[in-house]
């Protein structure tokens, strides 16, 4: 955390590297909304969804090249904001980072709260009556309990956290491997089952939006460039390992479920692989009734752990924004005894609660929200690609510890792929307006805020790119 020319301060190696990438990839599968997305994708698309994941994987590899070049130029913690501010100016930087962080949190955080209830109602027979409606209360109870725990400053650190995390990961590995190794119980042909959404190119492209969501969080495996020695080599390596680990984990999951769950008609024209019922069915196929309870508990634990991470981390970010003047001062309030930012914790919980109640376990609506979050990511990712290109033109002099191989092909490929994914974001059964409407409303709000904040508060030119040296000076960071 010091200037690197002055000291050799670095973070623990345990925070970076292959083990972290693999652990994150495996952990992401069990996050409720990611699991629901994978389930929905494979259930509807079968081998077509597998192709969509492959396309998303290629897009993410190309995108990783952009992030790696940008991270090398700007080894700061600002990520999307700094990259886009340097390339395109503050207006796009604020709009893009709000879309990438705030909008995504609202959409994906709400989806996570809602899916906790959905999966619990399908995994536990005592909660079956909430499958049609009313499962929202499960997610609400979960987030209220976690909010109170965080407000009281109770931290399940040390052995409790390690044990819980290890159990979740072990569960996924065991079920995944068992699902593949055990004798096949389904009558699928091929590896991933048939597609119910068509088999032409359009069908594949309509699944890419969902597939992109599976790669959410892969940036996490990339530590800050300022944390690493030789970041120009280790940053892209970490990203490529992370993207590959996620793709491999998703393929294995799809393979395991397809082999073990017969895609039966539930009696109303709905097939089991289209519903969250596929998860307990998979668990039972692998390990009987005990397996169903085990996996159900693991999925619930994962939802709780994911929400807990949000409740612990995001209020601190709100605190910083309050100190900055971006949010009201109340978000900087710490309870005198418990030392926790109660207002921020309450807001994170309320967002999840309101969203879960409104969605009420309606899976298509949850998928809409997930795809709206994907749109927000696509928007911010495209801004980063454009910024990398603009910086190459405007500042060819700047040191680039990592230069994108075959520039500008990866940037153009990633951007084209993302635009195509955005155009085809609605899988069969949904319309573009279902997804575009909430996304563009939120984007419009972010853009309006960005204009007002830059003109009226910062009193800066919103369209003028910020020099990378200025951005780094703010954080006292230098390159290797």
């Amino acid at each position: 955390m010091g200037g690197r020319e002055q000291t050799d301060v670095t973070l623990e190696k345990a925070a970076v590297g292959f083990p972290t990438a693999l652990a994150t990839a495996v952990g992401l599968i069990i996050a409720g909304s990611v699991l629901l997305t994978a389930q929905t994708g494979f259930g509807a698309g079968g081998w077509v969804f597998a192709w969509a994941i492959l396309i998303a994987y290629v897009i993410m590899l190309a995108q990783s090249a952009s992030f790696s070049e940008a991270a090398g130029i700007l080894p700061t913690a600002g990520s999307v904001y700094d990259y886009v501010a340097a390339g395109m100016g503050r207006f796009f930087a604020i709009t893009g980072s709000l879309a990438a962080y705030l909008v995504v949190h609202v959409f994906a955080g709400v989806a996570e709260t809602a899916t906790a209830g959905v999966f619990a109602s399908f995994n536990f027979t005592s909660l079956e009556r909430f499958q049609e409606s009313g499962s929202w209360w499960i997610g609400v109870v979960l987030i209220v309990v976690l909010a109170v725990v965080n407000m009281l400053g109770i931290r399940p650190y040390g052995s409790a956290e390690i044990v819980m995390t290890a159990v979740m990961w072990a569960t996924l590995i065991i079920f995944g491997v068992a699902g593949i190794v055990a004798s096949k119980k389904s009558s699928i042909t091929g590896l991933f089952g048939e597609s119910f959404v068509g088999t032409d190119l359009t069908a594949v492209l309509t699944m890419v939006g969902l597939a992109l969501f599976l790669f959410v969080g892969v940036e996490y495996v990339t530590p800050l460039a300022s944390e690493l020695r030789d970041s120009s080599r280790n940053i892209p390596r970490a990203m490529y390992v992370g993207v590959t680990a996620v793709a491999a984990a998703m393929f294995l999951y799809g393979l395991a479920v397809a082999r073990q769950v017969e895609n039966v008609d539930l009696g109303d024209g709905t097939f089991i692989l289209d519903t969250p019922l596929a998860i307990p069915a998979f668990a039972e196929a692998v390990m009987g009734g005990f397996g169903r309870v085990w996996l159900g508990i693991a999925v619930l634990l994962a939802s709780a752990a994911t929400l807990n991470t949000l409740l612990a981390g995001i209020p601190r970010i709100f605190y910083g924004m309050a100190k900055d003047g971006t949010l009201p001062r109340s978000f900087a309030y710490l309870h005198p005894k418990y030392k926790e930012p109660w207002v921020g914790i309450a807001l994170v919980a309320v967002i999840g609660i309101v969203g879960a109640v409104i969605l009420d376990g309606d899976v298509p609506s949850i998928i809409n929200l997930i795809l709206a979050a994907v749109m927000a990511w696509i928007f911010s990712y495209i801004l980063v690609n454009i910024s990398v290109i603009l910086l190459r033109n405007r500042r060819p002099d700047i040191v680039r510890p990592y230069s994108t191989p075959l520039y500008p092909f990866p940037q153009l490929l990633a951007t084209a792929g993302l635009l195509v994914a955005a155009w085809y974001v609605a899988p069969p059964g949904l319309t573009r307006s279902d997804i575009y409407t909430p996304f563009f409303i939120m984007l419009g709000i972010c853009a309006a805020y960005a204009l007002i904040w830059t003109y009226a508060v910062q009193k800066k030119d919103p369209w003028k790119p910020v020099e990378p040296e200025e951005l780094m000076a703010v954080e006292g960071v230098t390159r290797d």
Partner: protein
């Protein structure tokens, strides 16, 4: 990154996950130690500010926190496994008006004094000076050590060092 938030200090050595900060002019020297709070699909890297003083005979730990149910009205201490020397230090910390003035505006998560019989170490962990990284949904942010918090921190460390030194 945190060095940029401490313009009156320069880094004077350190190692893996720690750095020694010394004042450019007059002031208190202290160490910054990184601590990573790992969670499922997320982590927060916080900075812990440490002053150490040679002081024989004090062993145990003292936790310091703000008094009050809704707003801060003072400081209070709680000793654990403390010998009489440590209890005495706790009393001094709680009664010191200068320390109270310095620490009241400080947004600390942890404020602890630990003695091992040979020396005494005070550790303060703040809300600022931290990096929050979350995998899902993906976000990463550095929460700065803002000027008001920096000033309060330096004042608090100065007073704590004075009290622990027995000055």
């Amino acid at each position: 990154m945190i060095a940029a938030d401490l313009p009156g200090h320069r880094v004077d050595g350190g190692g893996r996950g720690s750095a020694r900060f010394v004042p450019v002019g007059e002031g208190v020297s202290f160490s910054v130690v990184e601590h990573v709070e790992k969670r499922f699909l997320g982590r927060t890297t916080v900075a812990r500010f440490v002053v150490e003083v040679d002081r024989e005979g004090a062993s145990g730990s003292i936790t310091i926190r703000h008094k009050g149910n809704t707003s801060r009205v003072g400081l209070t201490t709680k000793t654990r496994d403390g010998n009489p020397e440590m209890e005495s230090i706790a009393g001094l910390l709680e009664a010191d008006a200068a320390l109270e003035r310095a620490a009241l505006p400080l947004d600390f998560k942890k404020f602890e004094v630990v003695g091992d019989g040979v020396g005494v170490k005070a550790t303060i962990e703040l809300m600022g000076g931290a990096v929050v990284a979350v995998a899902f949904p993906p976000m990463r942010s550095y929460v700065r050590l803002y000027p008001d918090q920096r000033d309060a921190l330096l004042a608090t460390l100065t007073e704590v060092e004075r009290i622990l030194s027995g000055v």
